[in-house]
Amino acid sequence: MLALRERCKFIVITGHSLGGATASLAALWLLCELQSVTTSPPVLCITFGSPLLGNDSLSGAILRERWSGNFCHVVSNHDIMPRLLFAPSATLTPQMQLLLQHWHFSMSSTTTTTTTTITTPPFGIPAAARLGDQEKAEFLGFIMASLEQSSVGAAVGEETAGRFSFWPFGNYLLCSGEGAICLDNAASVVKMMYLMLMSCSLNDFTEDHLMYGEYVARVSSQYLKQRSFVHGELNRESSYETGLALALQSSGISSQEPAAMQAKDCLTMARRLGRTPHLNCAKLAVSLSQVVPYRAQIEWYKMLCDESEDQMGYYDAFKRRGSSKRGDQVNMIRHKLGCFWDNIIEQLQNNELPYDFHKRDKWVNSFHFYKLLVEPLEIAEYYRRGKHRVEGHYLKNGRPRRFQISDRWWKERRANKDKNRTRTKFASSTQDSSFWARVEEAWEWLGDLQSGNDAINKQEIWENINNFDRYARTLIERKEVSVDVLAKNSSYTIWNVELSKLSSALVCPAPLLHSA
């Protein structure tokens, strides 16, 4: 698949029934692989009647990565297979075995015609016929009950309902004889799957799994024709009501059925509330302009620290601040800016912003410059509160997700840009925003060596220290740090001093560097 990536314009992965589950997994793998590549062809995974794959954590992760647009699951209204895993124990029943056999025979013995015929296998009665009506009814009833429970649980928002049981992800194209509707809200999908199944007859639920060819052909030609609205008068006043009624009709639920009211509510729930993405984005421009003055205040604080007599640089000044009014103010601003950007990330994940938001220069740049300026303060606060002793180092466990996201966006935008610019003066912000976190780690290593504890792996620590030293010197040579790093009393400068003291102390007695 990776070889194909070079040559093709887009990739479509597909499968029917269990093949659909494999297709979904293949698509997920491919999307993960392509994440690190800047230009990759678009990937689409279309499955037909495939069973559920994972629980709501999987769905949540796919939502966060914004991949739900890459999956389209076609599910017909009476097909039992996609709904099966709402009652996982049903897969262990003997009825399931018979069903699987029946489908297997039907699929392997039919040709590519769209109508399926139940051909008699070489020996005896077709498997489905062995399923008596009563058994069918029982099986169906069991699935329906679990489905109902899941859908009710979803409506109430029960935590436990989703945690261990299967949950849909991506988009669902629910088809019926009357048309199709496309939903991406998982809770609505579950509910609609339940409601659409209600009108299922005992024969339908075994045969529908094989009828996708028909459904697809029908749906394609259906929209070419003008269809009159069958069930009563359309509300002329409200376009929304009309749209809702049309969607209901397409899902095959007639307005006479008891399910109709619930279906209407369910579809209403699925719509997007609030402003359209473009308007949200436009409004954000105004919000950004209100937040940038705060950033200017931090820039001013940084400049103040650079010029102050303490000569500490703003990282250390902030870390070691006593209870000063200015320090508190800066802390509050740090917090506010963090909330602002977290809010944007959340809006993006909820699909409230245009899909190409993370490619727009204005936002990528603003985010990046915020990170360069303010992440040192986040690091300072983390170490000031001693969180590293409880939760581990910042880079491993404490780094807020928004900074990782900013890194990713910046890398995507700047991948092809000129990296060989030589600087003539020190940058206004240190270009690696996690520099100070590394300094803190280097301090810990130094501390370990100074403590004289023999239980530690001295070789490894020296290696780490040398790596860090090299990394820091390269940055400084290229002037990619801001002047506060080189301030007389900054953590980095003092660390350097301690390091040279330690090195010279070691040279005299015995060169530990050569120990085996």
Binding site: F10, G69, L224, Q226, S228, A282, S289, A296, R421
Partner: protein, 584 residues
């Protein structure tokens, strides 16, 4: 302005008559009009649906100014028009007719229609260049014309206020206006259809025409493609935020041809339906042709070919009153037009919803403009504050650019806050423009061009000062190369288009960026200097500075201590005129 029925009838008979002519165009002079009709062609090469970029020398206005999207036009039509324009007497004849004060009418039927359209736009471009501009606009009437270009046609023509000159007549089921919603280049069936049209065009008794057997296949093909295009457009209209839609968009590229101007359809029952909302017309093109069953479909397929020649019976007979359009209809009038269209055409529920969505987008655009208009007061106040700051600096004989760059006083900090406040408002406007969510006329409105120019001249120097103060050129390169915000680029493009200035010549607001860049360049090696054209740029900027200094748009640069003067004094080859402008 009103278009009388007689003109329409005359134009139609000319357009049909032109088919029999061997010339590139046919001219007919009447007492008050000069009608230029263009013949259609039935050969496949002249119909191919391949897209090409618009020739911007011939049609400089057909682009979106800020976004810089160029119009896309059917290659075959553009090539054919260019031949007509260059080789025939068209220009001369049109000029003569104008001298005689005749109303110029360009018309064509079938593939003669696009040539008439391009001729009309060419005439309008020409009129706009003249000084004084011509008084009477042309009229462009097409009958059963295929689509000519993409959505930029509609956008640009509205911005220039030329949209009202274009009226397209289409019988309800005529397939030709819909043909380019499907890719045709690879369809051998299409040649058969063209042949059938050819034979129809010479028939005197239209009743004896028999449509070819592939009519139904062809019809279904065009309609399923039209369905893709219209549902795609409808999803966009309804602002679907479903990610699957975005993925699908990158997979399937539907046809980019779109309608523009005003469309007049016959509804098949003696009524005429007028619509000038381009998005609504697109939806109507599909939904008015939707069959209700397979039988119905076959009937409609036959009609789709016969109605291409039935304009007299189907349409013109129903034209009882003059057509009045001025392009300035209110929001209510537009919505009424759409509702009436849906009613009279007897559209399905889904069709009606799509049409209403198009109307809704138009309303939304108007609301967005009202929102921007309501912010004018805020913008004016902020500009005034910065103006005061500038004058205060001038009183101390310091340019405000330098004062802002140093950021020593509270005034400087306050100016920064104002700069950011304005940036927020203007950026919001730019976001809306990028998504085409403001009315098409917006980039041509004088009031906004003026605000944009004033904003640019006053505030851009502060943005540049901020940029170089933080040495951002070392992070991301020179300001002009990739860092200049759109809120400055767009108003510059608007002004240059409105005042017919060459592109890039109105750069007085960003000359500081050039100065800073040249300052850094001066410290570099001679090889670097030649690579970045140090010499020629230095001369250019000095000449420009003299020009702008005389126009009094960059006074603050001339204080004795300013960055510019200091740099200029260090140059080996100085332009002496600048010395007179310096304030010491």
């Amino acid at each position: 302005m009103a278009v009388k029925e007689e003109i329409v009838s005359k134009a139609f008979s000319e357009a049909m008559g032109a088919h029999r002519s061997r010339n590139e165009f046919v001219e007919k002079i009447t007492s008050s009009e000069a009608i230029f009709s263009f013949p259609g062609s039935w050969s496949f090469e002249d119909w191919c649906s391949e897209e090409a970029k618009i020739d911007s020398a011939l049609f400089p206005s057909l682009r979106s100014l800020g976004n810089k999207h160029c119009a896309v036009v059917n290659k075959a039509f553009q090539d054919r028009f260019k031949l007509v324009a260059e080789n025939s007497q068209l220009r001369k004849r049109v000029e003569e007719a104008v001298q005689k004060n005749k109303q110029i009418v360009f018309t064509g039927h079938s593939s003669g229609g696009p040539i008439a359209v391009l001729a009309a736009i060419w005439f309008l471009e020409d009129s706009a260049k003249r000084d004084p501009p011509r008084r009477i606009g042309p009229l462009c009437l097409t009958f059963g014309s295929p689509l000519v270009g993409n959505h930029i046609f509609s956008h640009a023509l509205r911005r220039e206020n030329w949209s009202r000159y274009f009226i397209h007549f289409a019988t309800r089921y005529d397939i030709v206006p819909r043909i380019f919603l499907a890719p045709l280049s690879s369809k051998p069936q299409f040649q058969q259809i063209l042949d059938s049209f050819k034979s129809q065009s010479v028939l005197t008794n239209l009743g004896s025409y028999e449509p070819p057997s592939i009519a139904y296949e062809f019809f279904k093909d065009v309609m399923s493609n039209a369905l893709t295009v219209t549902s795609h457009a409808a999803c966009k209209l309804m602002e679907s935020s479903n990610l699957l839609f975005e993925t699908m968009t990158s997979f399937i590229k539907p046809s980019s041809y779109r309608p523009f101007g005003t469309y007049i359809f016959s509804n098949g029952n003696g009524k005429l339906v007028t619509l000038n909302n381009a998005d609504a017309v697109l939806q109507l093109l599909f939904y008015s042709c939707q069959p209700s069953s397979e039988e119905d479909g076959k009937e409609i397929a036959k009609k789709s070919l016969t109605e291409h020649f039935a304009y007299n019976n189907e349409l013109l007979q129903s034209l009882k009153e003059p057509i009045v359009l001025d392009g300035k209809e209110s929001a209510d009038a537009c919505n009424d037009m759409i509702n009436k269209a849906a009613e009279d055409m007897g559209l399905s529920a889904r069709g009606r919803l799509c049409l209403l969505a198009a109307g809704e987008l138009d309303s939304q655009k108007r609301k967005n403009k009202e929102k921007m208009d309501s912010k004018k007061g805020q913008i004016e106040r902020a500009l005034k504050d910065v103006e005061n700051y500038k004058n205060k600096c001038a009183a101390h004989k310091v340019g405000y650019y330098d004062s802002f760059k140093r950021q020593k006083n509270e005034d400087d900090f306050k100016a920064n806050v104002k700069r950011l406040e304005l940036a927020g408002i203007l950026d919001e406007m730019i976001e809306m423009l990028k998504g085409y969510k403001l009315p098409d006329q917006f980039e041509g409105l004088k009031e906004w061009i003026d605000i944009g120019t004033r904003y640019r001249r006053l505030i851009e120097p502060l943005d540049i000062a901020n940029y170089y103060r933080h040495s951002k050129d070392e992070d991301t390169g020179p300001y002009m190369v990739g860092a200049r915000p759109k809120r400055y680029r767009y108003p510059q493009a608007w002004r240059e288009h409105a005042e017919k200035m060459p592109e890039g010549s109105s750069g007085e607001s960003c000359f500081w960026a050039e100065v800073e860049d040249l300052r850094t360049l001066m410290k570099k090696s001679p090889e670097e200097q030649t690579k970045f054209k140090f010499e020629s740029r230095t001369w250019d900027i000095q000449n420009n500075v003299v020009r702008w200094g005389k126009e009094r748009v960059i006074q603050d640069a001339f204080f004795g201590d300013s960055t510019f003067v200091k740099w200029w004094e260090s140059l080996p080859n100085k332009l002496p005129e600048i010395e007179q402008l310096v304030i010491r």
